[in-house]
């Protein structure tokens, strides 16, 4: 265990991020504990609106103005990011922590030339001249596989396709070789054919620059392909964390099991899609006790009243469920292992 602690790059404790709205605070992230180890790929999965993007943006404190970190700490390399000033954070952003956003079409400044935008990061963080910064930019753009870079750096983003824009974005974010790269659904806005290329690029860069990757997605295929460990979020909380295979092969939380079930069912073409009944709860006024209890087929009395803690089941597998261990999901196991082996 001591070995693991020394390798911890990011440690989030009891993090609460609320959005101020006229109807009251929206509790997008409500008491999250999370550790990310150096050099690993960690995946956050969950439905739209479960708070996974908010959690990701909270790490470099890039939240919109109406969001507030109410409680908790985010310790990165021994420094609590929640206590840093804006100018101290600025030195970390892009240099130590970088973020690749979901939509590359909107993440590049439409009126600045590509070369300029990619050169900005080294220009900000290193003591280099404009010319040197540009040559770093060109080198990185070549690395992410953009053809004809010398000509392309003079172009504006609108002439690029989505895939090339996302590559540019990745180049821009990795120019300073940060130690933590947060990718917020980096492939959601791209064509399926391009998705695989971008993911491969991310994996290559991760090895090359020895990055730690936090990947946010709702695609279980990507999780299985890319990640070492996975955290499942539901309604602002992490309900299950563990190694990818453990979580997929023996999901302990009914919600994870439901998610896995949905994906697996897709294979049988004629069969009706499996679904989790009901809707994700409003984060304005989340349900009492376990947040999943209104939709959970296994809910018992205690689930309505008491909030389950994230407890360790075995090894690195944690779950927040009162009935963990007593439930048997073995019916889906065969399908899952088949799914994973594809």
């Amino acid at each position: 265990m001591g070995d693991l602690v020394s390798r911890t790059l990011l440690k989030i404790e009891n993090l609460r991020v609320y959005y101020e709205t006229p109807r009251g605070p929206v509790k997008a992230v409500d008491g999250v504990d999370l550790e990310v180890y150096e050099g690993e790929s960690f995946c956050l999965v969950g439905e739209t609106g479960c708070g996974k993007s908010t959690l990701a943006l909270a790490i470099p404190r890039l939240l919109p103005p109406n969001a507030r970190i109410v409680d908790g700490s985010i310790v990165f390399k021994g420094v609590d990011l929640t206590k840093l000033s804006e100018s101290q954070l600025r030195k970390l952003r892009g240099r130590e922590i970088a973020v690749v956003f979901q939509n590359p079409m909107r993440s590049l400044n439409p009126v600045l030339r590509i070369g300029f935008q990619v050169a900005e990061a080294p220009l900000t963080h290193f003591k280099v001249s404009w010319r040197e910064a540009l040559s770093i930019a060109i080198e990185r753009l070549k690395r992410v596989g953009i053809p004809d870079v010398e000509m392309r750096v003079r172009d504006y983003p609108h002439v690029f396709s989505g895939g090339v824009k996302q590559r540019t974005m990745i180049a821009m974010m990795t120019t300073c070789k940060p130690s933590l790269l947060i990718a917020d659904e980096p492939t959601t806005a791209l064509d399926v054919t391009i998705q695989a290329q971008v993911l491969r690029l991310l994996r290559e860069l991760k090895d090359e620059y020895s990055l730690t990757l936090i990947l946010i997605t709702h695609n279980f295929g990507i999780v299985a392909e890319m990640c070492d460990r996975v955290g499942v979020m539901y309604a602002g909380k992490i309900v299950e964390i563990g190694g990818v295979e453990e979580v997929f092969e023996s999901p302990l939380h009914p919600y994870t099991r439901g998610l896995v079930d949905c994906v697996v069912a897709r294979r049988g073409s004629k069969a009706r899609l499996n679904q989790i009944p009901g809707f994700p709860p409003s984060l304005l006024n989340p349900p009492s006790g376990c947040r999943f209890h209104p939709r959970c087929p296994y809910a018992i009395e205690i689930c309505r009243v008491e909030e389950p803690k994230l407890i360790r089941v075995e090894g690195e597998h944690y779950v927040a469920c009162h009935r963990a261990g007593e439930l048997d999901f073995s019916t889906v196991l065969a399908d899952v292992s088949e799914f994973l082996s594809r």
Partner: protein, 292 residues
């Protein structure tokens, strides 16, 4: 890459420039640009085409109607109206440009600050602009000129001081909408400073609106300064300012109408041409009108 290829590239880009193409198809815009070019040419070549000096008095040749010798006639001091109008174009254009530059220098940074920081900064700046908005500009400008004294430069300062509010408004609103765009978060994610985001990410995106606003405020800037000159607060004789010419010529409007007709006509044409160009630019630069 050699120079010839670079130039060729530039020409190609210009030819493919959508905005330019659209502008060239805009009839009213082209008309405005034509009038404006003529007036600008007159202003630039005033020293060559003026028949006499603008202050050259010839009392034996007073209030003469237009003739080949003096195409726009002469005024009450025998000065050639054509020469004065041509030199006046210089003043009008220069003053218009200067006012707009000063206005933009005040209004744009304030708008950026208000839109970027929001909150208290925004409240204070917005209150200032609203207060300014509440005054009739010409009255306020008169008050300022009364304090700092008459003269063309002072009038420029006064007019700029009372009419920067539209810039702040437009830039603030635009900045706010741009701040919510994802590339601003991306810029913050690579560690850009607030200053850098304001001036290198937001400002270039607001620039089209500023250009349109500038072309649309130049005519009012010219009209305000002319009005102040007309009232005697601006340019002092013998400066060939159009406002001053109107004021001097108004006593002879019935027996020598050319003294006021020509400066007035050029004033109108200048204002009109800027408005035409401004409207055309707005339509050409606005993506909604472009594709809608």
């Amino acid at each position: 890459m050699n120079l010839a290829r670079l130039t060729l590239e530039k020409v190609r880009r210009l030819r493919d420039n959508e905005t330019l193409k659209l502008y060239l198809r805009h009839k009213r815009g082209l008309a405005g640009l034509a009038i404006l070019s003529i007036i600008t040419c007159l202003a630039l070549t005033a020293d060559l085409i003026a028949l006499r000096g603008y202050a050259e008095v010839d009392l034996s040749y007073r209030l003469m109607p237009p003739s080949p010798k003096s195409p726009f006639g002469t005024d009450h001091l025998g000065r050639d109206v054509f020469s004065r109008v041509v030199y006046g174009a210089r003043i009008a254009l220069w003053v218009g440009l200067l006012v707009v530059i000063v206005e933009a220098c005040i209004g744009v940074p304030l708008g950026l600050l208000a839109g970027y920081y929001g909150g208290l900064v925004d409240k204070v700046i917005s209150a200032m602009t609203d207060m300014l908005w509440a005054f009739p500009p010409i009255i306020l400008a008169l008050a300022i000129v009364t304090i700092i004294g008459p003269g063309l430069t002072n009038v420029v300062v006064a007019v700029a001081l009372v009419s920067w509010a539209p810039y702040t408004r437009v830039v603030r609103a635009k900045t706010m909408s741009i701040m919510s765009r994802e590339f601003i978060v991306a810029a913050r994610a690579i560690g850009e400073s607030s200053f850098s985001i304001m001036f290198r990410y937001v400002l270039p995106n607001v620039l089209p609106s500023i250009i349109v606003l500038a072309t649309l405020t130049i005519p009012s800037a010219i009209l305000y300064t002319t009005a102040l000159s007309f009232l005697g607060f601006g340019a002092q004789p013998p400066t060939p300012d159009w406002g001053l010419m109107l004021s001097e010529g108004k006593d002879y409007v019935f027996n020598a109408p050319w003294c006021v007709v020509f400066p007035g006509l050029f004033l109108t044409l200048t204002a009109l041409s800027f408005n035409l160009v401004g409207d055309a630019l707005r339509e050409v630069l606005d993506p909604k009108l472009r594709f809608g």
